[in-house]
Amino acid sequence: MADNADHIDGDDNEDVRAQQNLIKIKLKSSEGGIYECGLTAAKMSDLVKNMVESLGTDAVVTTEPIILGNEAVTDAALKKIIEWVEFHWDDPPVDHDFEDEKDRRNEELSHWDKQFIDVDDQALLFDVIAAANYMDIKGLVEVGAKHICSKIRGKSCQEVREMLKITNDFTAEEEDAIHKENAWIYAKD
């Protein structure tokens, strides 16, 4: 009986989540742009979730935009973030405190996430990750971190710098010396 009751509760929760996602709230970027987002999806951000809960009634939530003041939350980054949460809002919940960290680290990104995060604009990519971190969207932070990891892994210092568009202040002679010293890195697969 108890199991059955739990099961029904679970279904109810899913229904509630689906219904709540029909409620649209407004999120305001640091650049001033205002964008609509489903309530359940927006609550994937712990920051937004706490703000919504502290505001109380849905009526207030749907009229006043929630201001995301961090400079990483640009218009473009916020649009990307809303795209991500609107796709993932009905994912099974992950308990980030107790989930086996190592398993999650080794888990491959889904095809959708890979395409989502593989943006050409490096500045946008960093903004999305930094904004997701500010908004406390753990799943998206993880996608971003894994993507950058896959771009850095196995690369030499110079390749990493180029990838991250870091200007190099070494002189040519210093660079040459370092290249020699780094021979082992270049020989690595």
Binding site: K102, R105, R161, D169, E181, A187
Partner: protein, 232 residues
Amino acid sequence: MEMDYKQNTVEEEVETVENDRKINKMHTKWMLNCLIKKVDTDFEQILPNEILIKIFDYILVDDHNRTQSIINLSQVCESWRKLIIRTPMIWNSLDLQTITDVNLNEFFEMMAANQLFLCMKGLNLSGWNGANAERVLDTVATNCRDNLHELSLKNCKNISSQFLQTLSTYCPNIVVLDISSITYFRLLGVYIRQIRNPRKATSHQNSQSPFAAPVFRPYLEKCGNNLISLNM
């Protein structure tokens, strides 16, 4: 002939594990020293430190060349180097097996000053000479707060049996211990013999069973329950 071969492999960028190892060994001294030296390149960081640490963590997990990879990351820019030498979590294992008799004082001072031994679970000192291995082990053991789980002292020569005392006092939670092919002395006499007649002393020590050390039994009695793998 051998020189030609080596040059060719570098030029043609032939990638073999064996070659990597040779090159690693050639540059280990530079590698550790560079962690202490400021990196000339730097740039404004967009990603917050906690995300960078997460990224480093993803890169380093299951990396067989973890120590080398940490050093490589540290040389990308000064901000990364600073972050790396201030984050004990990154240093959960340290593989120093390719380094022998290098003056590591500065490196270990930096490690200790930044509490980088705090999270250390694995330490590999394979092939070190005994006195140096013991010195490093003492530093790590007294600073790792029972965290050390894996230790390799494989091929360490002339180590004193005192290290077992260190382990039983500070590292009771070791799960994997490799002390295969170590030679060690417990009597001053053996040490003196070694100085007077190295060949004789070496053969004498090689014949010693690790079980003969008077502290081995107490170590096993105290910490043996935690051991899953003991390679002698």
